[in-house]
Each structure stands twice: as C-alpha cells, then as structure tokens.
C-alpha cells in the first residue's frame, strides 16, 4: 500500500505491527504441523524396535534407532531365521504384494488412459455421446464402490464360471485374479481419465488440426503428430493421477481378492485387525514404503492437478 496511512486508523495499528502477517503464519504453521505430524510419527515408528512401539510415555525420538523393520519387510527368505525377534516371530515380506500392486496398477492405468483419451478426443471433437456426456460419465464415479463390489462378486464368482462351464466346459473365474481386479480398476478410473483429458484436449485449438488436415495429413497422422504432442504432458499427469488412485484403492481389492492376489493396502490391513501383538513397526515401514513414492509423484504433478479438478468451471 502506497503512502503513509493516517496515524489513528485502526487498520494502521494492525498494519504497523504486521498483525495479519503473524496471524497468517501462525495459522499456516499450525495446519502444517497438523498435516505433517501423522506422517512424521509413522516414519519415526518405522525406525523403532519392538520394545519402543508402545511405551508410556511414548518416545518422540527412537532411543535405539534400527532398520530392523525395513529388513523384515524386504527380506527374501521365507522364514528369515536371522530376523526373528520376540515380538514379531512371523516374518513377512512385501515383495509379492508390491509386485501385484505394481502390475495391476500400471497395466490398468495404462489401458484406462488409452481408452479414455481416445474417447475424450472424440467427445471433444465430434460431440460423441451428447451434450452432457461429460457429466453422465461422472455418475459412474459417484456410485459407492460397495454397491459395485457386491454385484461384481456374484458376477465374477458365479455368473462367469457358470456361463463358461456351460459354453466351453472350462470354469473361468475372475475372482481373485489380476485381470478381474485390473478390469474393474479400468472401469472405475475411466471417468476420471475422460474428464481430465477433456479439459486438456479442449484446449488444443481445432484450427491446428484443421490446418494439418488441409495440408493433407490423414486423421491418424494428425492425431499422432499434432494432438498427442500437445496433450502429452496432460496424459502423463492423468496417468500418474489414476495410478495414485489405483494404488490406494482398498475396498475392491479387499473384497474381490483373497488368498492369491494381495495389493499393498490389503497387506497393510491384514495386520491391523489383530488386537494383541500388532506389528506396529513393520506396518509403519510398509506405510512409509507405500506413501513416499506416491507423495513424491504427487508433488511432481501438483501444478497440473488444479486443471484436472476444475471441470472447466473456473473463469479464465
């Protein structure tokens, strides 16, 4: 603000003493503390040994920091003779769940991205599906997953095996398979892909494509050489975003897979329900391993997230 303010105005007292500055930073710091504390506590616990998981008063800094929890979850041996300790006899590793999660999330995000981008393009350019298609597609995202999970359970576990047995004589079940869960992830993330890609593709001026077509480029060629390079960054952002969504998905993974396929959230939950002998340390280590890469990815795409969430409702 230019010029010296009149000395007696109330606002000038506040301004002279930077009251607003203090207020703002106090609030923001408090919220930052609130946001960071649970993560800080998890990372801390992951470095504590069994004796320190539950003590009163709790240790704010591990007195005896150890990598034991990480060694335990990353061990390759089935029994891990060198790793047993009193509180955690059962040795478990996350390799199986990690591979399952990575495989399902990567493949289904990729398929969903391809299908969704393609459809978003034809919706944006040709108005496929009608004027309000972009909202209709949202309805699928709004249905609660439990309402999807129950029909899918019966579909995967009864209808498909029965039908295939009658038709071909072989029982094919999608329950507890990669493809079963992956297909469902494709279906549940497609609305997001279509939405986010619509907001990116809408911004590519049609005149560019028109020019390319005038100069004789075919439709596929135009798409590959004009449109895709312009929305490539948008595609990357969308991919990362739905990857994060699939990576954190819990309900469908819990309900539609039991013994064979295990994703990381389901693995983490497995040790949660035990009342006695909960493995706080290894759980914290798993939590840290799941969280850190995703948070890093998220921070990388942070700038673009706003766009995907604006639904074209933000005035420019």
């Amino acid at each position: 603000m230019a010029g010296p303010a009149p000395a007696r105005a109330r606002s000038s007292f506040a301004r002279r003493h930077h009251l607003f500055w203090y207020f703002r930073h106090a609030v923001l710091l408090a919220w930052s503390g609130f946001v960071l504390f649970p993560i800080f506590w998890m990372v801390l616990t992951s470095f504590k040994d069994a004796a320190e998981w539950v003590t009163w008063p709790p240790h704010w800094i591990p007195h005896d920091p150890t990598l034991h929890n990480y060694r335990q979850i990353f061990t390759f041996s089935q029994l891990g003779q060198d790793l047993t300790r009193q509180a955690t006899e059962q040795v478990f590793n996350i390799w199986g769940a990690l591979m399952d999660s990575l495989l399902i999330c990567t493949v289904s995000s990729f398929v969903s991205l391809l299908l969704g981008t393609f459809l978003a393009y034809s919706v944006s350019r040709f108005g496929v599906g009608g004027k309000n298609f972009r909202y209709l597609i949202l309805t699928i995202r709004m249905v609660p997953p439990i309402v999807v999970a129950i029909p899918i359970l019966m579909y995967y576990a009864i209808m498909i095996p029965h039908t295939t047995e009658v038709l071909t004589g072989v029982r094919v079940s999608f329950y507890d398979t990669y493809s079963g869960l992956g297909l469902l992830y494709v279906a549940t993330t497609l609305p997001f892909v279509i939405w986010m890609m619509l907001s990116f593709i809408d911004e590519v001026p049609y005149t560019l494509e028109h020019a390319a077509r005038m100069m004789g480029a075919g439709r596929i060629h135009t798409l590959r050489r004009v449109v895709v390079p312009l929305v490539a960054s948008g595609m990357v952002v969308t991919f990362l975003f739905i990857f994060i969504l699939n990576w954190s998905e819990f309900l469908l993974a819990l309900t539609l897979t039991h013994p064979n396929v295990t994703t990381l959230p389901v693995l983490l939950n497995k040790f949660q329900s035990a009342v006695e002998g909960r493995l706080y340390g290894p759980q914290a280590a798993i939590g840290t391993v799941i969280t850190i890469p995703v948070v890093v990815l998220g921070i990388l795409i942070q700038k673009h997230l706003v766009k995907g969430f604006s639904f074209g409702m933000i005035r420019k």
Partner: protein, 329 residues
Amino acid sequence: MAEAQAPPAGRARTEAPAGAGWARRLSAWLGQERVFRLIPFILVEGTFLLLLAIPFVLTVYISLLKWRANRPFEQAYFEGLGNYVDVLTDPEFWWALGRTFYFAGVAVVLELLLGFFLAMLLYREFRGRRLYITIFLIPMMVVPVVVGYNFSMIYIDSGPLNEILAPLVRLVGGDPRIRWLSHPIAAQWAIILADVWQWTSLTFLIFLSGFSALPQPLISAARLMGASRWQIFWRVQLPLLKPVIVIAVVIRSMEALKIFDQSVLLTFGGPGNSTQTVAFYLWRQVWQFNKFSFGAAASVLLLLIFSVLIYFGIYLLVRERAMLHKEGA
C-alpha cells in the same frame, strides 16, 4: 460440429505409403470419421456395460432369491421381495445409513470451511507460499489405508495424542492414557478427524484454484469505488466463487458418503456399532456373514438412494456450467 468443413476424402491421400497392404487398409479404415466417433465410444461403453450393468442385473435377480453362501447357488429358491423387506426392517441398516450421512455431513462441512479459510490465506503471493501449498496438498496423496494406520497409532492409549494432552488431563485428575477408540463418541470423532485431515487438502486445492482465477480488475474496480474489504468479500468474491463452491460440495459429499477404509482400519465398526458406516455394514453382511441375497437387495436399495443424490449433484454441476456459459465468461 466444425468437422463438416474438414476435407472429406483426406484420409487415403497421405497415409504412409510404405508397409503391407493390410496395414494401409487398416489405417485407412481407422481414419474414417465414422470409425473415430464409434470405436472409443463402443469400447468404453462396452466396458461399463460388461463390468457394471450386467453384474447389476444379476444382482437384481439374486436379490429376489433366498440364498446364503452355505448352500450352493443351484439350491437357492425364489423368494420375491422378502430380502428387501428384511433390509428395510433391519434397524442396523438404517443406523449405518444414518451414521454415514452424519460422518459425511460433519466432515464435509469442516473440510469446506477449513479449506476455504486456508485458501483465503494463501491465494495472494508472499514468501513461503509455495512451500505451504506443497505441504497442504500432501494428505491427498497419502494412501487412505496408511492414514487409517497412522491415526490408529496416534489414538492408542500410549500414543502421542495422550502424551500431548497429559498435562491437561492430570490437571483435571484423570488417567492420561485414554483409550480414544473405545469410547463411542470419541471413536466417531476420531474417524471424522482422520477424514478431515486427508480431504481438507482437496477442498483447499479446489478453492485455491478458484481464488487464483478471480478476475482482478473487477476487485480493483470495487475497491476504487470505495468498497470495504468486507463488502468486496461478500458482494464480489463470494458470488464469483459460487461455481467453485458447488464443485467442492458435490465432489466432496459424493466421496465422503463412500467412507469405508477408516471404519475398517481405525475402529472396525466398533465399539458396538457406533462407527458402522453403510459400506462397512454391507461388507460385514456379505463377506463375513455370507448373506448374499440380503447384500444384493441392500445394494440395489442403496443404489436407488444414491442415484437420487447423484442426480441432484450432477444437476447442480450442469446448472452452474450452463450459467457460466450464458454469462459468456
């Protein structure tokens, strides 16, 4: 659309001349506008039809049977609307539904207020702004299961929350090692707090983008005409932010009504059934008590209830957008 002006026969002219005949024919076929309009639409709608619509029809059928998983499916017999009556007369179903709306309502209101307030403090440029924004957006990216685990660590009787509150509790003369998750009301608030921790970041993000997109000239004009800060906020900024607020409300309410992860991880529905949400209740009925046809009927009913809400939400979004277009913004 504008497609009508495009050259009609452009496809075959320049498609890569090299390559086998079938490849050229394939790309020529793919290049037709008709194919372009139809293929992705059919693929996507086909996925939805196969994975969501057919199972749902099957569910409606199963909901009319009497079937629990202790018998093979072939022995299930037709029962009519009995399951629906069972669901509708089950007090636990209504209780769980009520809990869900209560959690979602409280959590969403808190998230909207906090997110709006934080975005208001952060939308103007100052030193440290970017760092704050980065920190505030972190919870959105944390896996919900991990959030549940983190908060269960914090709430345990010898956890940091009790350590922080200990001086206060000792002052009153109580035992500082409170079991937060064993008390019905505290457990409910524990779940709400975990939800607020995670999703205030989303409302914050939506409001921040809304605030940054406000047309500055309009606000300076109002200031020049002598409007006070308060007037600018209520008369200029808030009306301009209305579409953004609608988005935040619709998206957040829809997501909040799905709440499941935290009741599994933090409280497992307990103590008693005080934190049972509708998703948790159905999960228990189907996956633990194997009441399949009951679960099918309940999910049909739930879908009916939710489709009313979804219709209303989408209606709000479409209306806001139509208004934006009419104003020519």
